[in-house]
Structures are given as C-alpha cells and as structure tokens.
C-alpha cells in the first residue's frame, strides 16, 4: 500500500466570495461584480432620464473598462438600450409625447443613414484615414450643437421664459417651405417636407454608424432646433425610433456575431431603467432651459474630450479593436 505524503499549510482554500456579488457573464466569459454593472446602468439611465442622452457613447466604454470584450460590450449595450428606451417610450406614449408619423420617417431616415454610413466608413478605411475623419466630424458637429444649445438656453434663462420657443408655423417663405412632399405632423405641431426629417435623420444615422453610438445627443437637439419640435415630443419620438433601431441591431448582432450577452444586458438594463425613472423625477425639479444648459454642457465636455484625445499623446499606442474579442 502506497504511503501518503501529507503536507499541511496554513494557507487554505478560502470560501468563495458572496455568490450574489459576482456574476459570470455567459457570452463575455468573464465574471464581474453585479453591483458595479447595475451601478453603471443606473448612472447611464439617470442621465438618460434627466437629459435624454447617455446610451452607447457612455455605456460601451464603461463596460470595456470593466473588462468586457469590445464586441460583447457594444452588442449587449444595444440590448440594454432596448429596455431603457421601451420604458421611456411607454411613459412618453401615455403622455402623448410620441409622434408616430414623424418617428417613422426618422426611423427610415436613420436606417438609410446607417446603411450609407457603413459604406462611407468602408471607403475611408480603404483610404486609411477613417478615424481622423470621424473624430473631426464629431468634434465639429458636437461643438456646433453644444455651443448653439448652450448660448440659446442661457439667453432663454436670462429672458426668464418658461416655455420653449417653438415655431409651429409652416416654413412657406423659406427654402425648406418650397421643398416638395410637405407633410403635417400634428403631434409635433410642425410641417415640413418629408425629406427634411428624413435627410437630417439620415445624417445622424451616418454619424451614429461610423461612431458606433445611438446618436441621441445629436438627434434630440436637432429635432428641437432644426425641426422645431417641442422638447418633450422630441425626446419621446427619439425614443420611439431608438427602440426599433436598437431592437434590430440586437437581433443582427445576436445572429451574425453571437455577441449579445443577455445577462450582461439585463443587469445593465435593471440599473438603467430604474435610473431613468429616478432621473425623470429629478428632472421635474428643473426647468426645460436649465436642463438644456446641462445637456449642452455635457455635449461640449464630450466634444472637448474628443478634441483633447486627438492631440494629446496617448498613454498606449495600441487600442482595442471593436471587431475583435480577446
């Protein structure tokens, strides 16, 4: 009979940590603290509820920072946005803040823009300067929108006007008013050629496609300032089109790349839907113009960060590829 060499150590195998704290993400294949995931979702949802922004451009980098592979982070983030936007859209729909007619046009424009954006980025990638074009475009667009919004909101605040300045008159005397296929959008109280919202949304779709974000923080100001929609209807209608866009994207990511992590999305969505409700309630404490100033400030901060990132020496010469896991 073989003898047994037995050796004792003071080191022992400890009990596993609190099993409800760390969660294994099945598709990402890594374990992450559950409360960190819910907290990240809640933060993003709070901004979403408060200001109508804060999806892809914020959440995907946070998830990547937590160690989620970029492809899984982007796809699961899209799935979580489906939950947040459906929660928000339901509330807005009840309040009559969703313009289904305009939302459909915007949705079609967004889809067309996304398709064009994918092709444009392919061309720029072939030319080898895609990223600089994208970043510069983004900086310019964000700078223009943020600055205009900031100045306009400050002027509104100084005037002390409580109601948003929204022109519902038909732009008959303008170039836009002479465009064909004029269409009334009663819910929004505006009239435009169908091409106006379609083209504007297509442009946002192109930006969203090349930057890999939802584009809400461009879309909402655009609807308010260019289409002259009321702020609340703009947010509700934006949510409508985001819900359909992200639902389609989630399905495509799941079927083609297999990168949707349902548990990750649910954890984030649990935080973000709750955070959105809290943000909405906090938002009631502020006037629309005050919220616009905050939104404009966030847009400008994102723009400045992107501009600094373009010129500052990076900490690392290598960065993760969104199309490759690890």
């Amino acid at each position: 009979m073989a003898t047994q060499i037995v050796k004792s150590f003071t080191t022992c195998l400890p009990q596993t940590g609190d099993p409800l704290v760390t969660i294994l993400l099945p598709v990402a294949g890594i374990s992450i603290n559950l409360f960190v995931l819910i907290g990240a979702g809640a933060l993003v949802g709070f901004l979403s509820g408060l200001l109508g922004v804060g999806g892809g451009f914020l959440l995907t980098p946070i998830l990547m920072m937590l160690g989620v592979p970029p492809t899984v982070a982007a796809a699961s983030d899209t799935n979580a946005i489906v939950a947040t936007s459906s929660s928000g859209m339901a509330a807005h729909f009840r309040l009559g803040n969703v313009d289904l007619k305009l939302g459909t046009v915007l949705l079609l424009g967004g889809l067309a823009g996304s398709a064009v954006g994918v092709q444009i980025i392919k061309v720029f990638r072939l030319l080898g300067n895609a990223d600089v074009v994208i970043s510069l475009t983004y900086v310019v667009v964000l700078g223009a929108i943020g600055s205009y919004m900031f100045v306009e909101s400050l002027q509104s605040l100084r005037r002390g006007s409580l109601a948003p300045r929204v022109s519902t008159a038909r732009p008959s005397g303008t170039l836009l008013g002479r465009l064909p296929c004029q269409m009334k959008f009663p819910r929004s109280g505006i009239q435009h050629s169908v091409f106006v919202p379609f083209v504007l949304c297509a442009m946002v779709g192109i930006l969203a496609a090349v930057m890999g974000v939802g584009g809400g923080f461009i879309m909402v100001p655009m609807m308010v300032y260019l289409l002259r929609m009321p702020m609340h209807v703009a947010i509700g209608t934006d949510l409508f089109q985001i819900l359909f866009t992200c639902a389609g994207l989630t399905f495509m990511q799941a079927t083609t790349n297999h990168t949707v992590d349902l548990l990750l999305a649910l954890c984030v969505a649990a935080g973000s839907t709750t955070g959105a409700q809290i943000g909405a309630r906090v938002g009631r404490l502020f006037r629309g113009d005050q919220l616009k100033v905050v939104l404009a400030t966030i847009v400008l901060v994102v723009m400045v960060k992107m501009a600094v990132d373009l010129v500052a020496s990076p900490a690392n010469l290598l960065s993760a590829v969104k199309g490759a896991g690890h």
């Binding site: 047994q4 050796k7 004792s8 890594i30 990511q253 079927t255 010469l317 993760a320």
Partner: protein
C-alpha cells in the same frame, strides 16, 4: 488549515504540481473563485509556478501621429506569446535563473517583450512591444513575479510550497496549463505541467450554448426580454405612482417628460 496530499512511494519524483480544484466550474453566481496550487520540488531547489493560456493572435489598432493629431492607422497582429501568463515564485525570478532560461520559458516581461511577434513587420517597434505588455498587465492577463510572490507559502517540510490564488475574474473560461519549474543553480532542471480547465456550468453554460447554437431564437428572446423589462419597470412605476396619488399625492404629467433617449 488544510491537509493536502500527494501519493508517493518512497521519494516522490519531483517536481510535482496539483491544482485544487482540478477543474474550476464557474456558475452564474459562483462569486470570486480561488485555486490552491501545491508544488513539490527538491529541497535544494526553488519552484516557479506559471499559469498559461495557449497562444492566440491579438489584434489592436495602432495609433500614429499625423501633424498635431493622433489617429488609428492600421491593425497590429501580435502572436507568439500566451494569451494569459501568470508567473509566481517565492523569490524574484532573476535571482533564481539565468537570463537564458528566463527567456526560454517566458518568465518575465523582458522575455515576453523579446518573444512576441509583431505583424506587419514595419509596425514592429519597441514602443509597440511596450504598449502590448502594458495593456496585458493592465487587464491582468499578464502577471510577473518580479519581486517574488507573497501568495507563496513554504511548507514545514523542505521542497513543499503552496500558492493560493484568487482566480482572475477577467480570465475567460478556457483550458489553461499550470506548470512548475524546478530551479537550481540558475537553471531550470525539471518541469511538470498539468491541465487546468475553467468551464462554465449551469445557466451560464446553457445561455452561452443558446447564443451560438440557436442564435436567431436567442436574439429574438433577448429583444423580447429587454422590451418586457422596460415596459415592466414602467408599469411598476406607474402603478406605484397612481397608488401614491390615491393616498393624497397628485401624479404629475411632467413626471415622464424627461425620460430619455440615447
């Protein structure tokens, strides 16, 4: 205090390595997992324990400066080094081994830096190699026992060591190899390796299988669940708000006025 044993007849062949548990089965709510690696080397030798995940190509964007702007220009493919490399030793490796053996077994950052292969070759530069190492150490895929490992504990009997390791939560489920290098007089005199599998089980394994085997159904369910969650939360909030209103507080029409977009 735990008693661990290795079968032996007379003088056991060294080195020896055991991993407890031999297979890490990770469930959805397993929590932080720990492994205990026990090694035995000759009493006059010192062990170096290495956990590796097989080599895999890593792809990154390369940043270059064009005028005042930094931009991604081209993809860098890195091969020839493990996807995960965790090294542990009771004393610093360079105090144990000559450079040739450290390089041969990839036991420190310098060795890995030399061994990695960068493609395309024109992108190969010291800064790229340093950047790769920094990224891997940042995401905890690489860990080197440059200053020795506190987690190592020498046993009462010479030649016995135990290494307690909180399994890195970012390390993906995969097959790993745990090796022990018996070091004496500046050289690796013997090695032993055991496989170590980290596998999903339970709900996590089932969901991962569905995501690949039944992708369209999985995608549709993911969308349906997300929509249900969104509408469910909205329903609950509305329900409690109305209930609150019945108790004297008026629901506000502005309450959902800022629910956001993305």
């Amino acid at each position: 205090m735990v008693a661990l044993g290795l079968p032996a007849s007379g003088r056991a062949q060294s080195p020896q390595v055991t991993v407890d548990p031999p297979q890490l089965r990770v469930e959805t709510f397993s929590g932080q997992q720990h492994v205990l690696i026990t090694v035995r080397v000759d009493p006059d030798a010192t062990p170096v324990v290495v956990i590796r995940r097989p080599d895999a190509e890593a792809v990154f964007n390369r940043k270059v400066r064009v005028g005042p702007i930094w931009l991604n220009s081209g993809r860098v493919h890195i091969t020839g080094v493990p996807a995960l490399l965790l090294c542990f030793s009771p004393v610093p490796v360079d105090a144990l081994l000559q450079r040739a053996d450290i390089d041969r077994y990839l036991l420190d950052a310098r060795a890995v830096r030399q061994a990695l292969h960068v493609e395309p070759a024109e992108f190969d530069a010291p800064a790229i190699r340093d950047s790769y190492l920094a990224l891997r150490q940042e995401d905890e895929s690489y860990r080197f026992a440059d200053r020795g490992s506190d987690a190592f504990e020498a046993g009462e009997e010479p030649g016995w060591y135990a290494l307690r390791l909180a399994w890195p939560t970012r390390a993906p489920t995969a097959m790993y190899a745990v090796s022990v290098y018996e070091c004496r007089e500046g050289r690796v005199v013997s090695t032993a390796t055991v496989p170590f599998e980290v596998a999903r089980t339970g709900l996590a394994a089932w969901l991962a299988a569905q995501a690949t085997d039944h992708a369209p159904l999985y995608g549709a369910v993911a969308v349906a669940v997300a929509i249900s969650l969104g509408f469910g939360i909205d329903f609950l909030v509305t329900f409690f708000r109305r209930r609150g209103a019945r108790h004297g507080r008026q629901p506000s029409k502005r309450s959902a006025g800022h629910l956001g977009a993305h």
